[in-house]
Subunit: 253 residues, 2 copies
């Protein structure tokens, strides 16, 4: 079972969009995939067509032991893709988890004994307890990075958090890579950010870049991944290329 966390404390950089489409790409090549929505906003759940009323429970109910993972997981319109949805009470766990015994390992524990090929955590825009928990339960961190100035600024803090988790809690955790999102090649700032990232983290930057594309931002309003909503769109093709790069990299790691 390959477990990865999609994280970046900077808001709106494409974490959820990357989680949904990467999960879809892996499911399309017959991997059994579980997407765990750790954001109380529940965008990953909605983006896959799971309305708030269809959620029989979610991450919070599983963390607190009210339900088992199997009871809460729902299937989606994409074959092989399952979601553990989020509910709004999940925001309570940022305050409660620090006081629970072994509070840092609750997500790792809920995965015990389950046999998905891939588990993908979508995180809220913070480095709080839920994101830390997901990193402790994962082998990889995937970092979506919007090609903008503020997004670049947050990288130092994010990588410091990665090192702290790797050194103190989870030595298996590795950086799967950095993926540039909403990339507009006509924009000088975007090119500048790409050069900066390539010079600081040459081994981590994926070759694939996800272009800014209105089809990508339209897809969630139909409850579909862009890969299903419009498979030939630039955004969809870029996510398919990224999935291939990731599989190639994981085999080699």
């Amino acid at each position: 079972m390959t477990v990865m966390t999609i994280a970046n404390q900077k808001g709106g950089v494409g974490k959820t969009t990357t989680a949904i489409n990467l999960a879809t790409a892996m499911a399309a090549i017959n991997k059994r995939v579980l997407l765990i929505d750790l954001d109380p906003q529940g965008n990953a759940s909605t983006g896959l067509g799971i309305s708030a009323s269809e959620r029989r429970g979610g991450v919070y109910q599983v963390i607190t032991g009210e339900q088992t993972l199997s009871e809460s997981v729902v299937s989606t319109s994409v074959p092989n893709l399952y979601v553990l949805p989020s509910t709004q009470d999940l925001s309570a766990s940022e305050v409660e988890l620090p006081h629970v015994d072994e509070g840092l390992y609750v997500l790792k524990k809920i995965l015990n004994g389950h046999d998905f090929d891939f588990v993908i955590f979508d995180c809220p825009p913070s480095l709080g307890f839920l994101t830390i928990n997901a990193l402790i339960a994962s082998q990889y961190i995937l970092i979506p990075l919007q090609a903008e100035f503020f997004a670049l600024e947050g990288m130092t803090q994010l990588l410091r958090t990665f090192r702290r988790i790797h050194n103190n809690y989870n030595p298996d955790l590795e950086i799967l890579g950095i993926i540039l999102t909403m990339y507009d090649s006509r924009n000088a700032l975007a090119q500048h950010v790409e050069e900066e990232v390539r010079s600081y983290f040459p081994e981590h930057l994926f070759d694939s870049k996800i272009p800014r594309s209105t089809r990508v931002s339209e897809a969630p309003s139909h409850g579909l991944p862009v890969m299903v909503y419009d498979v030939k769109s630039h955004g969809s093709m870029a996510y398919i290329r990224l999935a291939k790069e990731i599989l190639h990299k994981i085999r080699g790691m």
Copy 2:
């Protein structure tokens, strides 16, 4: 003293950009303005040219009583505009504040006895303790809304939080308005979101819309508000129009 909070738990919707440029517009008409950066990422501080090394202390030091507000506030390159910067230890307060006596009122208390014309809080992308604290200390909430599907989805939760604060902690708190950001009039989704917002919240939507503009996203890398970096740009002109609308609305409320 007029105190306002710029909040939206959805990430990347233009909270910091709106905070910086609104603060600059008010300072430009000779109001003494204090911008308080409640985001541990510190984007508002950086976007006004205050590097991490120049920050003598920040919100966290003032909340914990290590420093006074006057000791921590720094001036900016914009006359009449002052910043209480953020530092990374601010993220600790999301876990500590709930256990402090009167923890919900710490921001209201630090403003006592100071005489700025305007105080503007920039919030992190969450409805945690810092954002709640800012709302309790404020007379107005200003909601930047990106014209996208996921951003619209979060409005229900945000307005529920507003009502809870208004009813239980701060009856003075009012909705100043909703401002559409990164608006691309050629994009059907943006027009659709605008129609939805106008039908649900007709009295709250500002007439001004902030267009998507690369000059806006370039400005922070120069440590300047777009209103200083390129005053004639579409983004800058839109923020000037918004400031006028806000002043007009505040006088009438």
